[in-house]
């Protein structure tokens, strides 16, 4: 049986990859993919902690992940809708050019 910390390292690695993608790519959709990856890394953490918890019958981790998946779905829908709307306005998905909120 794989020990807990290996799952945690994998989770941290996935999070790092997701963050790197979100911070370095220009395309807004890739940024969104990175964010999804970070969310999934967090989910993996929850499941792992649930598996190794003293009271797995309470299913707290499972419930958290279930709701997290629901929220992630909502986030993905809204986020992609925003990207489409912005694209329609600027005719590009390049994040560098979205600076209308500039101070």
């Amino acid at each position: 049986m794989t020990p807990l910390h290996q799952y945690l390292f994998l989770s941290a690695l996935l999070f790092g990859v997701g963050l790197a993608g979100a911070l370095t790519r220009r395309n807004a959709i890739i940024v969104l993919i990175g964010i999804e990856l970070m969310l999934n890394a967090a989910n993996l953490n929850f499941i792992a902690f649930w598996r190794f918890s003293r009271h797995p019958e309470l299913a707290t981790g499972l419930m958290f992940v279930l709701f997290s998946i629901g929220i992630a779905a909502a986030e993905a829908a809204v986020g992609l809708a925003l990207i489409i709307a912005i694209y329609r306005h600027y005719r590009t998905a390049n994040l560098d050019q979205f600076d209308s909120m500039k101070g």
Partner: protein, 781 residues
């Protein structure tokens, strides 16, 4: 109360409606405007006749109860308007509407070729409405309103040919001159209102011409020891002087002849100028009120001789010396009769006894106002007649004659009471309208020639005009027995002869009568007799003089255009029947009317005074009356023969010939022809003073007031400059510095906000790393 009394307002309302409707008509709709105006006048005339008939039946209480209504109310103050039907109003109504009707009909012919025919009838109808309003009003205020309306329409009609500078100037002169008198009228009205609180003439005992108000007014003494009633009377008389062209405000009336001839006939001869006389007649109870102190004196006299006061007793002696009959001396009896009428209208019986005594006393003491009225009238009568002698314009002669006759009317009011003055007013309205219309016909026939020196020998050409004109001339001159003017003028002279104050007015009147006969003879000789002088002048010359008039009122089409083009000679022509018919009608009345007021049968005077008519042929032959009649007959004969001697016997052959009078006394004649230089006097005094005042005001305005205003403005400018300095360099500088600092800080902070997503996310990542490290580091510890 009769229906007509209730609905008397219809009489002025109908012409007013016609004026309003025709003002909406187009310039082309001539027949519409004329028929509307004439139709409304016919209706007004019929209604006036109905009103007149209503008043006939009432002997004794001769005044229908007035119809008053509330106009508006301001707190305690109320203003009431109303109308009243009494013989005075009724006879004026009939006269105005009848003469107006005839002149309207005449105008259809006279103005036939004027392009503003529609406008003319609109104004005429408006004038008729306003004049009828003056006549029926029972409130001094309503009378004043209509009075001003009459003045306004007069202004519009004198200036009807406004493109002629002289007409425009004459209109202005008429308006302003009458306005000077109206200021007095207005002040008098205000004074009357403040004293009595009402402007209604008759209001069931509460009116300002009724006993209670008059007693109050007579009791009050103001400056110079004058009673309030006297002051108010004099001020109101100012208005009458302006309107009726009394000296010294007569100057506008001759100039008003610049208007179309029907206007001159209607407004400036028959009706409007008589409005002043009518006003005095209307407020006669106020005019004849004797101040309280004089009344007291008279009353004490009465107590000494209980039956009669001194003057009355003397007069009674005179009367009894001549005859024993009741009505011997018209004026005295009339005065006595006038008095109780005021008393009769009192509602309560209490004041009657006192009032009667007072009135008796007042009747014999002539009030200051009436003295002034008499003197002004007498002076005007003689003065204007003198000027008329030397004039050459056919209408101006008649205008001065009008002024003179108005003077007679005023004198008649002053010396003999309402009936005397009104009788002359009515007869004069008819024969003067006749003369003006005849003059209009002559002018029309002579192709707009107005200078009598260029007429002459017109009798064969204008038979109807000559006949009617002769009737009018004899009526005006007072040719005995058969003409109205004789009787009405004789009535005035008769009363003047017995005026207790002075015999001056009587002699002035006689002098005026002499001159009247003289200048009318002169005019008729110049116009109708002798040989024609017009043909001698080139027609072009005559035409040029009137070219401005030709512009709008084209000479009648009834003469062929070739006659003018031919130049040297063209024939005068008789006017169309639409113009001559009114002349004939008026001529008939100029004869007939006189018989209603002879000493033998003074129906008119009795009607106005309100007692049953009496007839007694024998009075004609009493020495009292016949002496005056004889005197005036002699005077008229003298005037006529002098006129014939100078002008008819040897008619002048050319227009350039000197007037026979001028040959005799050139200097006197020049003064007369220059109208005693009254205009020049006003030019040199009033107008120059006015101009000087205007110049002074202008200078003061420019230099003094403007300087002050300018100084103030510079002061304000200086203050504002200082304020701006403080604002800009002290307040704003600090404020701007603060603002710049805040703006710089904002810019700095804004630089952090790139608006891009990834830098924000980077910061979040850094924070996350820091947080994780911090937590795990704490955990390690």
């Amino acid at each position: 109360m009769a229906w007509i009394t209730q609905n008397l307002w219809l009489i002025p309302a109908l012409p007013l409606l016609a004026a309003g409707l025709s003002s909406l008509a187009k310039q082309r709709q001539r027949a519409f405007a004329a028929s509307l105006a004439i139709g409304s006048m016919v209706a007004a005339f019929l209604l006036s006749c109905a009103a007149f008939v209503t008043t006939l039946g009432h002997a004794g209480t001769f005044r229908e109860p007035p119809v008053n209504f509330l106009w508006f109310q301001l707190g305690e103050t109320t203003l009431q308007l109303g109308w009243v039907l009494d013989p005075l109003a009724a006879v004026m109504l009939v006269m105005v509407s009848f003469v107006g009707l005839l002149i309207f009909i005449y105008s259809v012919g006279y103005m036939a070729h004027d392009e503003n025919f529609t406008r003319f009838f609109c104004f005429l109808a408006l004038f008729a409405a306003a004049m009828l309003g003056v006549v029926i009003s029972n409130s001094l205020l309503l009378l004043f309103v209509c009075w001003e309306l009459v003045g306004f329409t007069s202004y519009m009609l004198i200036g009807f040919w406004y493109h002629k500078p002289s007409a425009a100037a004459a209109a202005k002169k008429a308006f302003i001159t009458t306005r000077i008198g109206d200021i007095g009228f207005f002040l008098g009205m205000l004074w009357l209102y403040s004293e009595t609180g009402t402007l209604l003439f008759y209001d069931g005992g509460q009116g300002c011409l009724e006993q209670s108000a008059l007693t109050k007014l007579a009791a009050q003494t103001t400056m110079l020891g004058m009673a309030a009633s006297t002051g108010i009377s004099l001020l109101i008389f100012c208005g009458a002087m302006g309107k009726s062209g009394q000296v010294p405000l007569h100057v506008w009336l001759p100039d008003a002849m610049e208007g179309p001839t029907p206007v001159s006939a209607l407004i400036h001869a028959a009706t409007m100028v008589a409005a002043g006389v009518f006003l005095v007649a209307r407020v006669y109870p106020l005019m004849e009120t004797v101040p309280a102190n004089a009344t007291v004196a008279a009353q004490t006299a009465e107590t000494l001789t209980p039956a009669l006061s001194l003057s009355e007793r003397e007069r009674e002696k005179q009367i009894s010396a001549s005859d024993e009959s009741i009505r011997v001396e018209p004026s005295a009896v009339r005065k006595i009769a006038d008095a109780p009428q005021n008393v009769l209208s009192l509602p309560a019986g209490e004041g009657r006894g006192e009032g009667e005594g007072q009135e008796h006393a007042a009747a014999h003491a002539v009030s200051t106002a009436l003295k002034l009225v008499t003197w002004i009238g007498a002076i005007t009568a003689a003065f204007a007649a003198l000027i008329a002698v030397a004039q050459t314009d056919i209408k101006r002669i008649l205008a001065y004659s009008t002024v003179s006759q108005l003077g007679y009317m005023m004198m008649g009011l002053g010396v003999g009471g309402v009936a005397v003055g009104m009788f002359h007013l009515i007869t004069h309205a008819f024969f003067k309208a006749l003369l003006f219309l005849g003059a209009g016909s002559v002018i029309h026939g002579c192709h707009d020639e107005q200078d009598i020196r260029r007429m002459g020998g017109l009798k064969p050409f204008l038979p109807v005009t000559f006949g009617t004109y002769a009737v009018g001339m004899m009526a005006l001159a007072g040719v005995p027995v058969f003409f109205a003017g004789f009787w009405s003028k004789d009535d005035i002279l008769h009363n003047a002869a017995h005026w207790p104050v002075s015999s001056g007015p009587f002699w002035l009147g006689v002098f005026g009568a002499l001159l009247t006969a003289f200048y009318m003879t002169r005019q008729v000789c110049y116009v109708f007799f002798g040989q024609r002088r017009a043909g001698i002048l080139p027609a072009r010359h005559a035409h040029d003089e009137r070219s401005s008039k030709v512009h709008s009122s084209v000479p009648s089409s009834s003469h062929p255009p070739g006659g003018q083009a031919g130049g040297l000679s063209y024939d005068p022509h008789e006017s169309p029947p639409v113009m001559t018919t009114p002349l004939v009608v008026l001529a008939v009345f100029a004869v007939v009317l006189g018989f209603f007021g002879t000493p033998a049968w003074p129906w008119f005077q009795d009607y106005i005074s309100g007692h049953p008519a009496t007839g007694d042929l024998s009075k004609l032959f009493e020495w009292e009356t016949s002496s005056i009649m004889l005197l005036s007959t002699i005077v008229v004969a003298l005037g006529l023969s002098a006129g014939w001697w100078l002008y008819g016997r040897l008619p002048s052959a050319t227009p350039e010939d000197l007037d026979p009078l001028e040959r005799m006394r050139p200097s006197v004649f020049q003064v007369l022809r220059g109208k005693f230089y009254v205009d020049e006097l006003y030019e040199a005094t009033v107008i120059r003073f006015n101009a000087w005042t205007a110049w002074l005001s202008d200078g003061l305005d420019r230099v003094l007031w403007d300087g002050v205003v300018r100084g103030v403005s510079y002061l304000v400018l200086g203050f504002s400059w200082i304020s701006r300095f403080i604002d800009e360099y002290l307040v704003n500088l600090g404020f701007d510095k603060g603002c710049d600092g805040i703006r710089g800080g904002g810019k700095l902070a804004a630089a952090w906000q790139t608006g891009q997503v990834q830098p924000y996310l980077r910061v979040i990542g850094l924070a996350l790393a820091a947080l994780v490290l911090l937590l795990s580091w704490g955990r390690v510890q």
